[in-house]
Amino acid sequence: MTGQVDILTNLFIFVLASFLGLELIRHVSRLLHTPLMSLTNAISAIAIVGSLLLTGAHHDDLSVALGAVAVAASTANIVGGFLITERILRMFRGRGR
């Protein structure tokens, strides 16, 4: 039974986080949709958590190989995503500056 309870809790979390996300994004100015997308893109590299666990646990060669590629891909995503968001946001300037 405990397994099922966890599934339900996780579903609750998923649904609530999705609605929270919808509310938050709805209020983002259209001006910022490109940096928003590069930011969420960087955040979606949260898959690095699973990749790290897989690589570091060292179950067998296949999982280490797949895990290491996954860590490299997610890191590229994280580093690139946050850097380009910063680069874009620095370009937005108001009048009189």
Binding site: S38, I46, A57
Partner: protein, 456 residues
């Protein structure tokens, strides 16, 4: 507190920072804090994970992180702003690949011990991960113009695509019911990879904003499913935030084109020239000097920019013209259609890069009421989003699409390379209005000549 609880608290802080990141992103003033909050959240997530007792061997992790940083940083720092959509597509591909690979490894490690629910989320993670991987790579290739940006179509393509998807879904269903056999897993992976390609092939360049947003949502959902599989709530939350962001952006893009998801994905829009210029109608071509003469006396100007401006690298010239007009006391505003550019918000970034202050940039709903009281609407590199046929011609493919009401301004100056139709393959009524001045030529060259004539 046990070690595991410490890690969970770190994950909780990380989730809070991700939520704050999106919250801060809502306005320009706080947006950079948002990015830093997101980066800090990610740092905590990685740090917390490295503390976990399951991780015993750091060697390959270090190697992979170094390689990943070496790939990611130059991509972010060196790419020109016109190439941001490509970079984003490539980045989606990386993120989705990671999710797909983790799912694959988990399947071979403990596929036989999983319950039906876990196998289900594993299959969804793998399906979305791999189809987003190839789909995003193909989107990247199209945006980078490594392959033609027009829709690539063949007879019966939708049946082929849907059959491949059906194979993937049925394989996944079989794996969920029987927890195996392992030999079937490559079929799922292969059909997901293939479906990603087939999904993007028939999509044309101007539909890319919607497609990038959809791929963004898929990459997020894939991470969320990984969270269900690993019973990791941080993954579920971050993936869900990302998924909802992609969903909202793609809905906004679809609305801005008055089209449905299905139409974007399966419609192969813009593949044929629907109609060519009606016979017997001619347009009057003017010179940049004529345009300058009109601008000389204008008191209010709205500049409408489209992707063509970026393609011609004319944004800096346009900004210079705007500055010149402003210095003469002209009221200058920029009008931006939601689908201008190759990804949501792309045009804002291109103009910001050229140095246009963001408070001069107006969204469609704000600017449309202002056109009737505007002396000159100057259109640079935009076409379909100004076509009045969207309001008046029910048989037009773009009928119902919200447009910028450029035709309501007192004079329209339209800079265009040639009389060729726009992306939708249809003629623009605007060209034939008596109030419209067509100035043919390369956008950058024409704008520079207008500036010279105004100064001269």
């Amino acid at each position: 507190m046990t070690g595991d609880q410490v890690v969970q608290v770190i994950y909780l802080l990380s989730a809070v920072l991700f939520i704050l990141a999106l919250k801060f992103m809502s306005e320009v003033r706080t947006a950079r804090w948002g990015n830093w909050a997101g980066a800090l959240g990610m740092l905590l997530a990685v740090g917390g994970t490295l503390l976990r007792p399951e991780i015993t061997d750091y060697r390959w992790i270090i190697v992979a992180v170094v390689i990943g940083s070496a790939v990611g940083a130059p991509m972010a720092l060196l790419m020109p702003m016109t190439a941001v959509p490509q970079r984003t597509a490539l980045s989606h591909a990386f993120g989705a690949l990671a999710a797909g690979l983790v799912g694959t490894a988990e399947f071979y490690l403990r596929g036989e011990t999983l319950d039906a629910f876990s196998m289900g989320v594993l299959c969804l993670e793998v399906l979305l991960g791999y189809l987003t991987f190839t789909g995003s790579l193909l989107a990247f290739a199209k945006l980078q113009e490594l392959i033609p940006t027009r829709p690539i179509v063949y007879p019966g393509r939708n049946y082929v695509s849907l059959s491949v998807l059906a194979v993937a879904v049925l394989t996944a269903a079989y794996l969920v019911v029987n927890r195996g056999p392992a030999g079937l897993f490559p079929v799922l992976v292969g059909s997901a990879l293939l479906f990603g390609i087939l999904l993007i092939l028939p999509i044309g360049g101007a539909d890319m904003p919607t497609v990038i947003a959809i791929l963004n949502a898929y990459a997020g959902l894939s991470s969320s499913f990984m969270g269900f599989l690993l019973d990791n709530r941080l993954l579920i939350i971050a993936g869900a935030l990302d998924g909802s962001s992609g969903l909202i952006l793609s809905i906004l893009m679809c609305k801005a084109m008055n089209r449905s998801f299905t139409n974007v994905l399966f419609g192969a829009f813009g593949q044929v020239a629907v109609e060519t210029a009606e016979k017997g109608r001619t347009v009057q071509a003017y010179t940049p000097q004529d345009a300058a003469a009109i601008l000389e006396t204008a008191r209010s100007v709205i500049i409408v920019t489209g992707y063509g401006m970026a393609a011609a690298q004319a944004q800096h010239a346009v900004k210079e013209l705007a500055d010149l007009l402003i210095s003469r006391g002209v009221d200058v505003k920029f009008a931006i259609h939601p689908v201008a550019g190759r990804m949501p918000g792309h045009m804002n970034v291109l103009l910001a890069e050229a140095g246009v202050p963001y408070d001069l940039l107006y969204e469609m709903d704000q600017i449309n009421p202002l056109f009737p009281e505007t002396d000159v609407a100057l259109v640079v590199g935009a076409n379909d989003v100004t076509n009045p046929a969207a309001r008046t011609k029910p048989d037009s493919p773009i009928y119902g699409m919200p447009i910028l009401d450029v035709d309501k301004a007192r004079t329209v100056i339209f800079i265009k390379r040639s009389l060729a139709p726009g992306f939708a393959g249809i003629d623009n009524e605007l060209f034939y209005l008596p109030k419209t001045m067509m100035v043919f030529g390369d956008a950058k060259k024409v704008v520079t000549e207008i500036i010279a004539a105004l100064k001269g």
